[in-house]
């Protein structure tokens, strides 16, 4: 039925407009308080203003800086720790309870501690983002290494493959696969951490705009900043999905 997708898409757009319209209507009619809920048109005006005066680019870049540097640092430390965990059974057994402890701890609450340790600049924000994702990367890296079948390792060894060949041709693809499957979840965590880190002691960035809006009772500022965060999250997620699908194209589909 070729008309079905068309109708579905039409319904989606209609639903979105209906939601935005009823929001606007409810505020105008006085059912929702404007000071709390703002209005779609006010949020739009706020966004256009940010676009014109450069706030949009500045705040987004500042938040993305925290996100990207923290993510890269978390990825690197996670890969190193994961490689140790995956390649040495004794080491894995020794540190297992510590890994479980760190993994169960809500790391987002570490920011106050990091701010005492690393100052009130951008450094504690990097540490927070890295701390949120590194353990997930480590666990997945270790799983990727253990997931390699022994027969495959023996096969490559028998054909004369050394350490380098094993690392690049056998272990690396498995690690990439495992880390990639966790990458989308991790990007969500890292973005949460980056925004949350700007709630405290920051003077810029999207998280700062959100708390600043709360402090000044400017609901449109909060909603506008949340809209930007949402767009960034969607773009990152879509990009990662494309990477994931490309990287796993060689695998037989499970469907």
């Amino acid at each position: 039925m070729p008309w079905r997708p068309l109708v579905v898409n039409l319904l989606r757009v209609l639903l979105l407009f209906a939601l935005l319209y009823s929001w606007q209507f409810a505020v105008d009619a006085g059912w929702l308080k404007k000071i709390f809920w703002s209005r779609p048109t006010d949020i739009w005006v706020e966004l256009v203003g940010w676009w014109r005066d450069g706030t949009l680019a500045r705040a987004s870049l500042e938040s993305l800086d925290v996100f990207a540097v923290g993510y890269a640092a978390g990825l690197l430390t996670g890969l190193v720790l994961g490689a140790l965990l995956g390649s040495s059974r004794g080491f894995a057994r020794l540190v297992e309870p510590f890994v479980a402890f760190v993994n169960a701890t809500p790391r987002l609450i570490l920011l106050p501690l990091f701010m005492v340790w690393f100052g009130f600049g951008i450094a504690p924000r990097y540490f927070l983002v890295a701390s949120v994702i590194f353990i997930v990367v480590a666990i997945n890296t270790a799983a990727g290494i253990r997931d390699v079948p022994a027969t495959l390792v023996n096969d490559v060894r028998m054909k004369g493959g050394g350490r380098a060949a094993l690392g690049l041709e056998v272990y690396a693809p498995s690690i990439v696969l495992w880390v990639l499957t966790a990458a989308r979840v991790n990007v969500g965590y890292a973005l949460n951490a980056a925004i949350a880190s700007e709630f405290i002691g920051a003077s810029g960035g999207l998280g700062y705009l959100i708390v600043d809006g709360q402090g000044k009772f400017l609901a449109s500022q909060i909603f506008a900043a949340l809209t930007v965060v949402l767009v960034i999250a969607l773009v990152l997620d879509t990009a990662l999905l494309a990477v994931e699908q490309r990287a796993t194209r060689w695998m037989p589909s499970i469907d």
């Binding site: 579905v8 319904l11 989606r12 639903l15 979105l16 709390f36 809920w37 057994r93 020794l94 309870p97 510590f98 479980a100 402890f101 169960a104 701890t105 809500p106 790391r107 987002l108 609450i109 570490l110 106050p112 501690l113 701010m115 005492v116 340790w117 969500g188 973005l191 949460n192 951490a193 925004i195 949350a196 709630f199 405290i200 999207l206 998280g207 959100i210 708390v211 809006g213 709360q214 009772f217 609901a219 909060i222 909603f223 900043a225 949340l226 965060v229 949402l230 999250a233 969607l234 997620d237």
Partner: protein
Amino acid sequence: MPRRRAGLRAIAVLAVQVLMVAGLVVIWALASRRLGVRLLVSTPGAVISWWWEWAQGRRVNGLEDLRVTLYEALLGYLLGIVLGVAGAVLMSASWWVRQVLAPLAAIANALPKIAMAPLFILVFGATLPGKVYFVTAGVVFIAFFSVYSGLRSIDRIYIDHVRALGAGRLWLIREVYAPATVGWLATSLRLMAAWSLASAVIAEYISSSSGMGYVIAFGQQLIKPEQVIAGILTIAAVAMAADRVIVQVERRFRGWRLA
């Protein structure tokens, strides 16, 4: 003989682990003899004595803080499960509803929930319900998507088979839908627990006068690292304990799963 060696090794591993923790504490204690370091990490003794005085109710609000945080986290957690499961069931009911709403659910899920904390505080104030709703918003999509995937992963053959045997709606739910989704939900319960605790603490941190988040924020304002560290360690211990409990519960119910 091999069994005995394995037992010996387990004891050795445990001994080394205990030594590692002891070593960390000793390094911490030695390093904090210098004033500059002590201002950053306090001392093990100060953290323990602060915690003891707090537990007896002589600091901040005492154990009441922990109770408030756990209450918010637990209520938000349960509300998140109920709403998530209900949403997934409703959405799976009809092809049209599913098709139209799926992108909206995905968009709502993509929004970093922590970013909404100030919005909840603006709308609900620094009240308890506001924090519960914030926790719910943080975990509801985890439950929703796990149950939704579980319901969609059911092989038509099972449904047709049970129907052919004369099953009605209730029977289908008990024999096919529930077992198929329980496993999916169970794997998300641990993740939801960690998130609900973190969400509650962060909401309290931003604006509150009780709870572990308040303990941490207050300690930071007073420049008392022992209070910040004791607060964080308490939450970490609670999170770890909650995680263990959920793993145990999950293990008990493992039999009731669709293989």
